[in-house]
Subunit: 359 residues, 4 copies
C-alpha cells in the first residue's frame, strides 16, 4: 500500500497534522475476539510521548488515545477500529517565522512543490507527530501477537559514534526501559545520555541506530518473491521519519567473510530443525525460518537545529532561519517504540497473509 | 503489493521456476504510445545473462525475450504486455542429490515448511533466475523514463573488502560497462575481478555492495507517509535475492556528524532552488527534491558453494551436501542490471502515482 | 479494495457503529488545492439525515461533520482528510430485547458466525448509519468533480409498484429535491409519498429503485479489463445496504430488441463524435464515451418491520421478535444522496486512475 | 484490483489480444498442494470454445492451455501459475476494412480516445477472446472449491424474450450441458436454439440472461462494508464483455412484496440454523449465510452484426460498416462457463480473505 495506509490485511490508515485538531487513524483487518488492554496501549504511547526525560523535547502532551469504534465490551469485533489523539499543546506561533521558509533537510520544499501548498505549522503532515497513529496500531498488533507467542523488542544500539559492540544476544534486554536512552548496556546508556544532553545544549542534533529483534515468529511468514518478509520490514522502517537505512542479518557488515563462513548450517535439535548460527537474520528466501528475526535501522540527526542556517523562502529569496520551538536533540529514544510498532504491524499482517495462502 | 506482483500503477507480475518451462510475466499499467526497442531490452537481458565472463557461472542461456501482447506495430498500446523467456539449458540432474536436502542459507527449508512441497530443481521459484522478469520490466520502464529525461545507473562499489572510497560523483560512470565487474574505477575493477576469480577457484563465494544513482528525477515523486519514495526503493531492492541491506543518502555512515553538519542548505541557482550538498540523497520527507537520488544495496555471498557442508534432509536426518552445477562466485556483476531494473520500475510507478495525485 | 476501504487512488476508509461513539473516516488521495465548502458537505449530510420528513424514521440526529485534518485555511492540502460525525441520539435500550436474537434478513446471524460476536445495538457496523461516511466522501468528490464539469444526479424512480415509465431525459430533474420522495415527477411523487406513509402506518416496509445519471464525464475513464467503469460503479452500488441489483444502459430490459436495434450509431456532430442513441449507457468496452452515464439500483424493503416475526436466538431456540425503535418504512428517499456519493467517488477515482495511465 | 488483475488474494492477471500471439495469464495466490487436473481445465475451455455448435461462431480454435510454472509433478506449489493459450486461427484480414472505423457499440472509439491507438484486429484487447484466461483461472478455482464442497453452476435462463418462468430449484440442472444453449429446460432450450439459429441467418444478434447458483458455500464469506460478497460477485460479472446488469436474491423483481412478505425467517433445523425462504440469495449484510447463493447476469446482444451500419471513421468522416468474419449471434451459451469462472474465482478469493480475517 502507499500514501497513508500501511499493510495488506491488517491495515492502518492514519491522518493528522502536527498542529491540526488531532492525530488519528483507522485499523482495519484486526481479528475479532481480542481483549483490548487500553492501559497497555496508553503505556506504549507514553514511551513515545515528548517530555519524558531531559534528553527529549520539553513539550508536554497527554497523547491520550480515544477509541471510537470496533471494540465492544472491551473486545475487538472485527470491525474497523477508529481512534483519535487530540492535539492539546500546540504552539503554532513558534512557526510563524517559518511560514514562507524552506527549512533545510525538511519536507517543506518537497511538499510545497508536490501539493502547491502546505500546512507549515510544526511540519504539518510531515511531522513525526504522525507516528502516534503507528504506535496505536503497533500496540494493537502486539496484543494479537502476544496470543501467538511473538514478541518484538527494539533498543538504541548507537548514538553518534557511541555504539554497542556485541550482538543483541550478549545483552540483558530487560535493561532497555531502565534508562532514558533505551540502550540495554547501562554503562553505554549513561555515556549516550550525557552526549545527547550536551548536543541539546549546543542547539544541535545527533543520529544513531536502533536494533530490533523479533522472537517467537513461526516458520513460514513471508510472501515470495516481491513480498519477502524482510522487504516488508525494510519498507516499514524506511517509512519512519529520519530513517536512512535498513539491514537485517549480516547486513552491510562482514564483507570479509566468504559464503563458506557465513552460511547457517542446519541441524536436528531433538526433532526441531534449527540453524547453528543465525547470520541470515531469521529469514531465508524471504520467509521466516523460526530463528530470531533481527535488523537495524539508521536514523539521521533531526533536521531542526536551534542554530542559524541560510536558506531560501518560497519566493526564492535568500534568508536565514533560526528555529524556535521545543525539539528533540536525538530522535532515537522516542523512536524505539515506533520501530517496534512498525515491526509488530508487519508481522501480524504477514501472519494473516500466510493464513490466506493455504486452503 | 506482495507475492509475485510489484508496483502500484506500473505493475509487473512474474512467474516461472529455474528449471520449469519458462520465466515470464505480465506488465500492466505501462503507458500507451511508447516505441518498444526490443534490441535495447535484449541488451539489458544480456547484461544479466549467465556465462558473460570468466567470473560468472559458465551456464550458457540465450535468455531471449518473446513478447506476446500489448505491443502493436512496435508501439505499446496501454494493454498488458505478456512475455516469456524460455528455459533452454537446464541441467536438472545436477540437483538430483539435493531433492531431499535442505541447502544451508537457501530457501529450501522455508519453502517446504510454508507450502508443504517445493520444486527443488535449481531452487525453483526462489532461484535468482526469476529476476529475468524484473530485467524485462525494468527495460520497459527505462524506455518510458528516457522520454522523461530520467536515467538510472548502478555499479559495483564493493566486493568483499575491496571498495570504492569516494562517492559516485568522483568517478566516470561511463567506465562501468567496460569491465566484467561493472565497477567505474578501472584499477579497482581489476583487483575485484582477480579476487572473484580466485574465490571461484576455491569453490567459495563472496558478497559486496551495489550503488545506484538516479539522475533527472523531477521534484515531487513520493507518496507520504507510508509511500515515501525511499521506502519504495528500499522495498524494491530488498526483494532481490541475497540482498541484506539498503541505505540512501548518508545512510548508516557519518554518525560522527551532527545535524548542523549534515543538513543540506537550499540556495537559489538562477531561479532553480537547489541544495549545496546532497546528504539527503535526493529525497526529503519521502518526496524527491530534484537532486540526484542515490543509494546502496548490500548483497551477501551466494549461498551455493562447491564445498562440503553438513546439513539435514527433509526427514531430519544428518547428511552432508556437496553442490554440483554451475554457480556464480559473486552475484554483484550480474545484479547491477537487476538493481537498475527495480529502481527504474519504482520511479516510473511513482511518476504515475504522482500524476494521479493531482486533479 | 475490500473491507472498509473504498477506491483505488481516491480512497475512503470508514469506521463506526450505529450506537458507538461516532461514525467517521479518512479520505486519502484527495487532490490538493480544492476549496472545501463545508456548508455544501453538511447539506449533503442533511439530505441523508433521519427525521427530515414524515416518511422517514422519526429519529433526530444532527449528523454534523467535524474535519480533523487535511484542510488548511479552507483548502485541501493533499494530506489525508480525517473526519468524525458524533452519535448523539442513540436509544440503545430499544435494542435490549434483540441482543441474543437473529433478526430475519439482517446481518445479525452472519456477523455473529463470522466474527464470533457482534455489537447488536442498532445493527452495529452493519447499520446503514455507516453510510454517513460515504456521504462525506461523496460530497468531497463532488467538489472536485465540479471543477471538472462533472455532475451526478440520482432520484427515486420506483417505490413498490409505482414507477416512472419514461427515461430520465423526459423529466425535469430540478424537481427532485422539491418533494420528500426525491422523484422528478411531482404527480408520481405524491402517490409514492402517500403509499410509503400508509406502509409506515402498517409497521411494514417497501423497496424500490433509484436511478442515477452522470453528466459531463469525459471520454476515456475506465480501466479494462477487470476495472471496467460500470463494473466499478456496480461494485460501489452493491456495497450500499439493502441493494439487490444494478443495471446500466439497456440493462435487463429490451430483450425483445436485436443487436441491429440496440447498437448506438456514431455520427460527427460538428467535429464531435457522438452517438445517435445511448443504449450503451455512456460506457463502451468499460470506458466512458462522453455520453451521459446512467444506471439503476434496486433496493429491497427494509428488513426491520414493526410486526411480530418468528425467528431463533443465538442458542438456537425458537422465539418471536417484535422490533421497537424508530425505523424507515422505505430507504429510497434517504438513499438518493448515498447513490450519488458512491457514484461521485467512483468517477473521481477513475478520473485519477486515468491520469496515471498516461506518461 | 483494477486493470488486468482480478482478485485480492487469489489473483488472476491476464494478457493478450484477439489476434496477437497468445492469450495468457498468471494466477497468484493459488494454494499449494492441489492436484491439477489438466483434463478438467481443458474441458472447461472447450465449453467456452468457438465452433462447438451451429449457434456459435464457426471459428475453429484448439484453445489448448499450456502451463508454464507453479505446478510440479502435477500438484500446485504455491508459486505463480503462468499459462498461455496460443492463437492459431486468426483471420486478421477480415478486419482490414475496420482498421480506421469505429464499430457501433464496440470499444473501438473509447480505446482509441483513451490510449491514442488500438490494435483493431478482432477487437484487440477488448475482444471476448480475453475471457479464455478467466476460464483457466476459474477452472483452477473450481478444483480448489471442490475440496471445500463448493460447487458453481450457471445456465442460460433467457434468450431474447424466451425465458424460464420458475426459479432454479424447479429445474434439473443436470440437463444444462445436454443442449447447445445450456438451458436446464429441454423444451425451452429447443425454442431458444431455433430462435438463435434464425437470428444468425438474419446476420443479427440477440441478448439474454445467465443465472448462476453456488451451493455449499460456508457461512461467513464476505468482507463488510465495501467488500460485501455480492458486491464482489457483481463486480466480477459486470467485468465480462457485454454484461449490462447484475442482481442477486430478489433483485429488481418482487417490488409488489413488502418487507413482511420478503424477510427470510430463521428456524432451527436439527441444530442447523436455516432460513425458510431464501429471498436474500444466500447473503445477508454482505456475508454468506450458508444458503444457496444465486444471481442473474444480463447480456446485451453482440454488437457485431453482419448488416450495414452507418458510422464514422477515426478522421470523423461518415462511412458505412459491413462486418465480415465469423461471429456469435448470441453470446449466452459460451458465456455460461465464463460466469461460472468469475464466480468460482470470487468465492475462492473470499474464502482465503476470510481465513486472513481470523488470528
Amino acid at each position: 500500500m502507499y500514501n497513508n495506509t500501511f499493510g495488506n490485511i491488517f491495515r492502518l490508515t492514519s491522518f493528522g497534522e502536527s498542529h491540526g485538531k488531532a492525530i488519528g487513524g483507522v485499523i482495519d483487518g484486526f481479528p475479532a475476539g481480542i481483549t483490548i488492554d487500553e492501559d497497555f496501549i496508553q503505556q506504549e504511547l507514553n514511551r513515545r510521548r515528548p517530555g519524558q526525560s531531559s534528553i527529549t523535547t520539553s513539550r508536554k502532551e497527554a497523547d491520550a488515545v480515544e477509541f471510537l469504534s470496533g471494540i465492544y465490551e472491551g473486545v475487538s469485533t472485527g470491525c474497523p477500529i477508529g481512534f483519535v489523539v487530540w492535539n492539546t499543546n500546540q504552539h503554532s506561533s513558534d512557526y510563524d517565522n517559518m511560514k514562507d521558509i524552506y527549512r533545510p533537510s525538511h519536507a517543506d520544499y518537497t511538499y510545497t512543490q508536490k501539493y502547491g501548498l502546505r500546512d507549515h505549522r510544526g511540519g504539518g503532515r510531515s511531522s513525526a507527530r504522525e507516528t502516534i497513529a503507528r504506535v496505536v496500531g503497533g500496540a494493537l498488533a502486539k496484543l494479537a501477537l502476544k496470543q501467538l507467542g511473538i514478541h518484538v523488542t527494539a533498543f538504541t544500539s548507537q548514538v553518534g559514534i557511541y555504539r554497542l559492540d556485541k550482538d543483541y544476544t550478549q545483552y540483558d534486554l530487560s535493561n532497555i526501559e531502565k534508562n532514558p536512552v533505551r540502550c540495554p548496556d547501562p554503562e553505554l546508556a549513561k555515556i549516550m545520555e550525557e552526549y545527547i544532553f550536551n548536543i541539546k545544549g549546543e542547539g544541535d542534533t545527533v543520529g544513531g541506530v536502533i536494533s530490533c529483534v523479533i522472537k517467537g515468529c513461526p516458520v513460514g511468514l513471508g510472501q515470495p518473491v516481491f513480498g519477502k518478509l524482510h522487504a516488508a520490514l525494510g519498507n516499514a522502517m524506511l517509512s519512519i521519519n529520519a530513517v536512512k537505512g535498513f539491514e537485517y542479518g549480516q547486513g552491510f557488515g562482514s564483507m570479509n567473510l566468504k559464503g563458506s563462513q557465513q552460511n547457517d548450517i542446519f541441524y536436528n535439535d531433538n526433532g526441531n530443525i534449527q540453524t547453528r548460527t543465525n547470520r541470515s537474520g531469521g529469514i531465508q528466501g524471504g520467509i521466516s525460518n523460526g530463528q530470531d528475526i533481527y535488523f537495524k535501522v539508521a536514523f539521521k540527526p533531526v533536521a531542526t537545529i536551534l542554530m542559524e542556517q541560510p536558506t531560501v523562502d518560497i519566493h526564492g529569496n535568500d534568508t536565514v532561519l533560526k528555529a524556535k520551538g521545543r525539539h528533540d536533540p536525538c530522535v532515537l529514544p522516542r523512536a524505539v517504540p515506533i520501530v517496534e510498532a512498525m515491526a509488530a504491524m508487519t508481522i501480524l499482517d504477514y501472519y494473516l497473509l500466510d493464513k490466506a495462502s493455504h486452503l
